[in-house]
Amino acid sequence: MGTVTELKYESPETAQAVVALLSGVGPMARIFAGGTDLLVQMHEELIEPTLLIDIKGIPETREIDVTADEIRIGAAVTGAELGEHQELKSRWPGIVEAVELIGSYQVQGRATIGGNLCNASPAADSVPALIAAAAKVIIAGPNGTREVPAEEFSVGPGRTCLAAGEFVTSIVLPKQNQRSGDAYLRFIPRTEMDIAVVGAGACVSLNDDGTCASARLALGAVAPTAKRVAAATDILQGNRLDDGVLAALAKAANDACAPIDDKRGTIEFRTKVAGVLACRAVKIAWQRAENR
C-alpha cells in the first residue's frame, strides 16, 4: 500500500543554517520568502517540494540598509515595504514602481523583491529595472558569499545561476551620479493584476550641459531572460533626446528582442511595443534626472 509524503517547514535564523538545510535536502527543498509564486506553483502541482525553508527569520533578508554609497535591500523585503521607504523611492523611483506593479495590494504585502528575481520569469517586473540600475545580487552558499550582476542572475525561463546550496540574501543598488533618474514601464492588456507582455527599465545620468552622461536600458518579456540593450547606452551617451535619438533607441530595442508567440503576446506585437516602451521609459528617466 502506497503512502503520501509529508511536507516539512523550517525557519532558520542564519544564512549558514539555510545553506546547511539546502545542501542536505537538495532540489526537493525550496526557499520560501513571500510565497506568492512558490505556493501558487505548489497548488498547481508544478512543483512538489518536501521541505520549505523560510528565510524571513534571517535579519539581513528583511532590512533596507541605506548608506552614502549604496542601498542594500534584503531578499525578503516586500513590495509594500519598498513602497513605504521614502529614501529608496526618491533615489530609485523606477525600481520601486516596478516592484509595486507585482500582483494586487494583498500580494504586495507578501511578495518580495528577492522572490521576483529568483522566480526567474522573463517577464518579472523588477528585473529590467534592476538591470538598468546596474544592481548586484548577493548570494550565500557553501563557499561563502558571492555577488553577481543582475543581468547575469537568470540564465533562462525559471532558471538562475544559483548553484546547489546557494540562495539570495540581498540586492545592492550602486551609488548614483548627482543628476540621474530611473523608470520602469510595462505593457499589459489590463491595468493591473497581469504579467508584463513587454517591460522596459531605464536609468539615465545627465551632464551639466544637459547631455546624457550615461544610460542603461533593459527589456523584459521579449527574450528567455530580461536583457540589457547595450546599444542603447551608445545611442544615448553624449546626446540629447531628439527625434533621431529616439528613433535609433526604438530600433535598438526592436533589434534586441527575441520573443516568442504565447498566450500573452505575439512576436510582432512584443517587438514593436518594446521600442515604444523603451522610448517612453527613457523619457521618464531623463525627466527625473533633469528634475534632480
Binding site: G2, V4, F187, R190, T191, E192, E268, F269, K272, V273
Partner: protein, 761 residues
C-alpha cells in the same frame, strides 16, 4: 444615477434599503459552497483528460485503490447510462445521455479537462496523489475547435451516433452539426432589391466564461436507504435535484438539495458537474464526500458560452428604412449539442420592424467544454453582428445611429422573427432618453471614439413557489426556492413589506431547500424578481386574507366588512360605530389562540415576463502606439419596468456592461496546437479588474410590465446583450477602421492601425 418616472405612492418599492444579506457577506459569515464541512467527510477529486479528443482504451485504478487513505475510485461504470434523446427536440435540451457522459467520460474524451475518473480519500493531498496513480490508456484522435470547420465534411466526428436533424428527418451520416434553427419572414430577394445600400460583414466571437468568483463546490451525504442530502453552489437546487435524481435513477423526494450562498453564476451554475459524482462516491463509501473544483478545473471543464462565426447582410433605403436583413451563424456548442440557437435567432433583428428577414443558427459540436448558459444565452454575439452591421449602415448613410434605430424600432403589437408578440415595451422611450443624455453629445478628444448599440432580451417566467409565515411576534418569514444571486432576497422583502404595509425590517427573506418548498425553477432568465416576486405577492395576499378573516371573527363581522390598510385590519365604518383596527402584531399574537398559525403560500407558473431593451453609449481612448484601449465613459439606458430595489437594478446594469467590456476587449480561451487550454486562470483569462472600467452611469427608464402587480421586468440580461457591440463600435470609431473579430485585443488593434497606415489611410 437617474431614476426616472418612479411613482411615489409606494412605501418600499423603489426605495434604497439596507440589504438583508449584507452583514453576513461583509463579515465573511455567509457560507458559500466551499464553506461547508460535515463530520467524517472525504475529499473527492476528479482525474481529467489531457487530450481534446481520444478514445479511452482502458483505465487501471488498482494502484490508486491501494493508496492508504483512498476510500473509493470511480469511473463511468459507476454512473448510469441513459438513451440518447430522440426528435422532435425541445428548444432547450437536457439529454441525460449527454449529461451522463459530460460528468464522466464513457468511451471517449471530448475536450481537454473532460472527467475520466474520480477518487474519494481522507485528505485532499491523498486524493490528488491517488489521481496520479490512475493509469488511463488513450488513443488520441484528431480534434476540431472551430464551429465552421466542425460543420464541414472533413472534420473529425465527435459523436458517431449524432445525425443532423432537420424538417426532413435525420442525415444519413453522423455529423457535428446537430440542428439549425431558422427564423424567417417576408421575401429576402425583394427586400434587398428595394435597398439603396447593402452592408455585408462577417463577425466572429470567442467562447467566454461566466467568470463567477466562486468555483463549483458541493458536499453529498448518501444514506443506506437510498436518500441523499446535497449542499451545493447553484442557481437552482430544484433543477440540480431533478438532474441528479434522473441521472442516478433515484426518487425525487429522497434527494434533498440545499443551495449554499452563491458567489456569482451568470448562467454557469444551472447544471450539474461534480454533484452526481460526489453522490456516487458517497454511496460507495458510506461517508459524506466533498467536491470542490479549482479555478483551473472550472475553466477546463465547466461551460462557457458559445463562440460564433456570423455572416450578415442588411439592406436599407436612403431614408434609413431597413428593407431586408439576413444572418447565418455557426455557434459552437462544445462537446455536446445544445448551443442556445433559438434565442440567437430570436435576438438578431428583434429590435427592428424589418419586413424581410431571416436568421439561421447552427448548433455545432466541437472539442471544447460543453457550453452553459451565460447571461442572455446566445444573444450578445448575435447583437454584436446585427448592431455592428446597422452601425455601419448608419455610418454609410451619414445617419445618426440612434435615429436609424428610432426609424426601424419595434412597437407594441409587433412581432419578433421567432413570432414573439410584443406587449407594452419601452424601446422608443429608451432611444429618446439616449438622444437627450449629455453623454450623447459630449465632445471627444484625439484617439477617442464613441460606440452605441442596442440590446434586446425576452425574459422568462415559469415555475415559482413561495411559503410565507406570520410568526406570533408579528414578524414574517418569506421563503423562496430561488438562490439569491442578484439581490432577490432584498426584492422579495420589499414586495412583501409593500403588500403587508409594515416595516421592512419585520420581514426575513429565506432561501429554503428542496425538501421545504414547492418546485422553483432556476434563478436565471431574469425571472426571479418577476416570477418568484409575483408568488411572494400572492402568498402575502393569502396571509392578509386570513388576517382579515381573523379580525372579522374577533369583531363578529363578515370578512368583506374588514379591509387591510397600512399594516392593519380595519373594520369598515358602516359595520361598527367607531373606528376599529388591529395591527399585524396584535393579530399575530391572537392567531394561535384563535384557530392556528397563519401562513400563505403560492405555487405559480408565471407568464408575461415580456421583453426589455438596453441601449449603451461608451467612449474609449486608444493608445495608437500599443493598441491599448481605455474605456473612458459608459452609460446604460434600460427599460427596467419597475425597479423594486434600484441599487440592485443599477448593479445589474453595471455588471452587464463590465462583462461586455471584457468580452469585447480581452477575454478568450487560448489553446495550444493539441487543443489543450493554456489560460486556465484569471491571470491569463483576462476579465476586467476594477481599475479597467470607468464608472458606469445608469439611466432607469420605467415602462411598467402590465403582467406584474408592480410592473417588474427582468433587468439582468439586456444590459449584456448590447455591451460587446457598443464597445466594439467605440473602438472602430476611435481608430476609424472596421474590426470584426472579438476580442479586440491590443495586438489586433495595433495591427489594424499599422495596416491602415501602411495603406495610406
Amino acid at each position: 444615477m437617474a431614476n426616472e418616472n418612479s411613482t411615489t405612492n409606494y412605501k418600499w418599492v423603489g426605495k434604497r434599503t439596507r440589504r438583508p444579506d449584507g452583514v453576513d457577506k461583509v463579515t465573511g459569515r455567509a457560507r458559500y459552497g466551499d464553506d461547508m464541512t460535515v463530520p467524517g467527510m472525504l475529499y473527492g477529486k476528479i482525474l481529467r483528460s489531457p487530450h481534446a479528443h481520444a478514445k479511452i482504451l482502458s483505465i487501471d485504478t488498482s494502484k490508486a485503490n491501494a493508496l492508504k487513505g483512498v476510500k473509493a475510485v470511480l469511473t463511468s461504470a459507476e454512473i448510469p447510462d441513459h438513451p440518447l434523446s430522440q426528435p422532435p427536440y425541445a428548444p432547450i435540451i437536457n439529454d441525460m445521455h449527454d449529461i451522463s457522459r459530460n460528468v464522466m467520460a464513457r468511451d471517449k474524451v471530448l475536450y481537454d479537462g473532460h472527467a475520466v475518473a474520480a477518487v474519494a480519500a481522507t485528505s485532499e493531498r491523498i486524493a490528488r496523489q491517488a489521481l496520479k496513480l490512475i493509469d488511463v490508456e488513450y488513443e488520441v484522435l484528431p480534434h476540431v475547435l472551430d464551429p465552421l470547420e466542425a460543420a464541414g465534411r472533413a472534420a473529425p466526428i465527435l459523436h458517431e451516433d449524432q445525425f443532423t436533424y432537420s424538417a426532413d428527418g435525420l442525415s444519413d451520416k453522423p455529423s457535428n452539426l446537430f440542428r439549425s434553427i431558422t427564423g424567417q419572414r417576408g421575401d429576402l430577394d425583394q427586400g434587398f432589391a428595394e435597398a439603396d445600400i447593402i452592408v455585408e460583414r462577417e463577425f466572429t466571437s470567442e467562447p467566454v466564461h461566466q467568470g463567477y468568483i466562486e468555483p463549483l463546490a458541493c458536499i453529498a451525504t448518501a444514506s443506506e436507504d437510498n436518500c441523499v442530502e446535497l449542499w451545493t453552489t447553484t442557481q437552482g437546487h430544484f433543477v440540480i435535484r431533478a438532474l441528479c435524481a434522473k441521472l442516478l435513477n433515484m426518487d425525487l423526494a429522497k434527494v434533498r438539495v440545499t443551495a449554499s450562498e452563491i458567489g456569482g453564476g451568470f448562467g454557469g451554475k444551472n447544471t450539474v458537474y461534480g454533484e452526481p459524482v460526489a453522490i456516487r462516491l458517497s454511496q460507495m463509501t458510506g461517508r459524506p464526500v466533498r467536491m470542490v473544483m479549482t479555478r483551473t478545473e472550472v475553466f477546463r471543464a465547466s461551460g462557457p458560452t458559445v463562440g460564433s462565426r456570423t455572416r450578415i447582410k442588411i439592406g436599407a433605403r436612403k431614408d434609413g428604412t431597413i428593407t431586408a436583413a439576413d444572418a447565418e451563424t455557426w455557434y459552437q456548442a462544445g462537446a455536446f449539442k445544445g448551443a442556445p440557437v433559438g434565442r440567437a435567432a430570436e435576438t438578431f433583428f428583434s429590435s427592428y420592424t424589418i419586413k424581410n428577414a431571416r436568421a439561421v443558427v447552427h448548433d455545432v459540436c466541437v472539442n471544447r467544454p460543453k457550453v452553459a448558459a451565460y447571461r442572455a444565452p446566445g444573444a450578445p454575439m448575435a447583437a454584436y453582428a446585427a448592431e455592428g452591421a446597422i452601425n455601419e449602415l448608419a455610418s454609410r448613410l451619414a445617419m445618426d445611429p440612434v435615429d436609424i434605430r428610432i426609424k426601424n424600432a419595434v412597437r407594441e403589437g409587433d412581432e419578433s422573427l421567432m413570432g414573439t408578440k410584443y406587449g407594452q415595451i419601452g424601446l422608443l422611450d429608451v432611444l429618446e432618453k439616449v438622444k437627450s443624455h449629455d453623454h450623447y453629445s459630449a465632445p471627444l478628444g484625439n484617439n477617442q471614439g464613441r460606440g452605441f448599440a442596442l440590446g434586446y432580451w425576452m425574459h422568462g417566467g415559469g415555475l415559482s413557489s413561495v411559503s410565507a409565515h406570520l410568526l406570533d411576534d408579528g414578524t414574517v418569514t418569506v421563503a423562496t426556492g430561488n438562490p439569491d444571486i442578484g439581490g432577490s432576497r432584498s426584492s422579495m422583502r420589499v414586495m412583501a413589506a409593500e403588500e403587508l404595509g409594515v416595516d421592512i425590517e419585520l420581514i426575513k427573506p429565506i432561501v429554503a431547500d428542496t425538501g421545504s418548498m414547492g418546485y422553483s425553477h432556476l434563478t436565471a432568465g431574469s425571472r426571479t424578481t418577476f416570477a418568484t416576486g409575483m408568488a411572494v405577492i400572492f402568498a402575502v395576499r393569502e396571509i392578509i386574507e386570513k388576517l382579515r378573516a381573523l379580525a372579522a371573527k374577533k369583531w363578529r363581522l363578515t370578512i368583506d366588512q374588514v379591509t387591510w390598510e397600512a399594516g392593519q385590519a380595519v373594520a369598515s365604518s358602516s359595520s361598527r360605530g367607531g373606528i376599529q383596527s388591529l395591527s399585524l402584531k396584535e393579530l399575530a399574537a391572537m392567531a394561535t389562540k384563535m384557530g392556528g398559525a397563519i401562513a400563505g403560500h403560492s405555487e405559480i407558473n408565471a407568464g408575461g415576463a415580456g421583453a426589455a431593451f438596453s441601449a449603451q453609449l461608451v467612449d474609449v481612448e486608444i493608445d495608437p502606439e500599443t493598441g491599448f484601449v481605455t474605456p473612458l465613459r459608459y452609460t446604460v439606458v434600460q427599460d427596467v419596468g419597475r425597479a423594486i430595489s434600484p441599487d440592485y437594478v443599477e448593479g445589474q446594469m453595471q455588471g452587464g456592461a463590465v462583462q461586455g467590456i471584457g468580452w469585447a476587449l480581452n477575454e478568450a480561451y487560448i489553446y495550444d496546437d493539441q487543443a489543450r487550454l493554456q489560460n486556465t486562470g484569471f491571470l491569463d483569462y483576462r476579465m476586467p479588474v476594477a481599475s479597467d472600467v470607468p464608472m458606469i452611469d445608469t439611466v432607469l427608464v420605467e415602462v411598467p410590465n402590465p403582467n406584474h402587480p408592480y410592473g417588474v421586468r427582468g433587468v439582468g440580461e439586456p444590459c449584456l446583450v448590447s455591451a460587446p457591440a457598443a464597445v466594439a463600435n467605440a473602438v472602430e470609431n476611435a481608430i476609424g477602421q472596421t474590426m470584426s473579430s472579438l476580442p479586440l485585443s491590443p495586438p489586433k488593434i495595433l495591427k489594424r492601425i499599422d495596416e491602415a497606415q501602411a495603406a495610406g489611410g
